[in-house]
């Protein structure tokens, strides 16, 4: 029963994160919501491998996803900072070239 609750939680987290990432215009808000969606995926991986004989490998895969999550966040923050330093832009809707 608890595993089903965790799977529902992971799907809700992914849905909230994905929907908010598509709706929000601010770059940093979009990155934060992508982190939320990623965390839902990581939780689903851990839950699905929790009671199997390969639980250790499921946790290793989840650790890989955590590293990728941090990487996506770092690159996204760098891109947001670059856009802001180029033309003071914080929103995704405004057209701007990354080249200087």
């Amino acid at each position: 029963m608890r595993n089903e609750v965790f799977l529902i939680l992971s799907s809700i987290l992914f849905g909230i994160g994905a929907a908010a990432a598509l709706v929000r215009a601010s770059v940093l808000s979009m990155i934060m919501n992508i982190v939320t969606a990623f965390s839902g995926v990581i939780l689903a991986v851990v839950v699905l491998s929790a009671n199997s004989a390969k639980a250790g490998e499921g946790q290793l895969f989840a650790m890989t996803l955590v590293v990728m999550l941090v990487g996506v966040m770092v690159v996204g923050c760098a891109v947001a900072y670059r856009r802001y330093m180029a033309a003071g832009v914080r929103e995704l809707d405004e057209k701007i070239e990354l080249r200087h």
């Binding site: 608890r2 987290l13 909230i16 989840a62």
Partner: protein, 174 residues
């Protein structure tokens, strides 16, 4: 409901509430704090799933994420000296601060109590099929999945180099 069941339900509710605030919040710094709380609650859920090592990694990632967003938010706003917005203190804001601090301390105390009474690496749920030990994770990582470990390291290195290239100024490129 057992203590572990209550703890897992409480952590799930906190995670969900913080995720909703991250999605709809307007203040960047409060949203960063909410994201930190969400990842800490997720780490608590991992403890309930006998993934204590992954929970510690998630907690470290939560600290990194919160610091990164607060720092970048300060850089973009151009106000490093006072990253938090200055608002007059009233009864409602003080009550919110007290409740937030109590929830945070309570959650941290619960996690600490579990680690102290159960120990890292032991199973919380006695009906679980197996208890994952750190040594078994180390064996799986370094003996069976060496390629994955090397790939993670290379991926992190490429991210660091790419972020440095993105952050350099135009006159530095010449």
């Amino acid at each position: 409901m057992t203590a572990v069941g209550f703890f897992s339900f409480f952590s799930s509710v906190i995670c969900l509430l913080c995720a909703v605030y991250v999605a709809v919040g307007r203040n960047l710094f409060r949203v960063a704090i909410a994201l930190f709380c969400e990842l800490c609650a997720l780490a608590s859920v991992f403890i309930c799933l006998n993934a204590e090592y992954l929970a510690s990694i998630t907690f470290g990632a939560a600290v990194l994420v919160a610091v990164a967003f607060v720092a970048f938010g300060s850089f973009i706003k151009g106000n490093l000296h006072s990253p938090l917005p200055t608002t007059p203190k009233d009864g409602a804001s003080i009550l919110r601060s007290v409740i937030g601090a109590a929830v945070g301390i309570g959650l941290g105390g619960l996690i600490g109590a579990i680690f102290l009474t159960r120990g890292i690496g032991t199973s919380l749920d006695t009906t679980a099929n197996s208890a994952i030990e750190v040594s078994a994770l180390g064996d799986a990582l370094f003996l069976e999945h060496r390629v994955l470990f090397v790939f993670i390291g290379l991926f992190a290195l490429i991210l660091i180099i790419g972020s440095g290239l993105l952050l350099r100024r135009p006159d530095d490129a010449e």
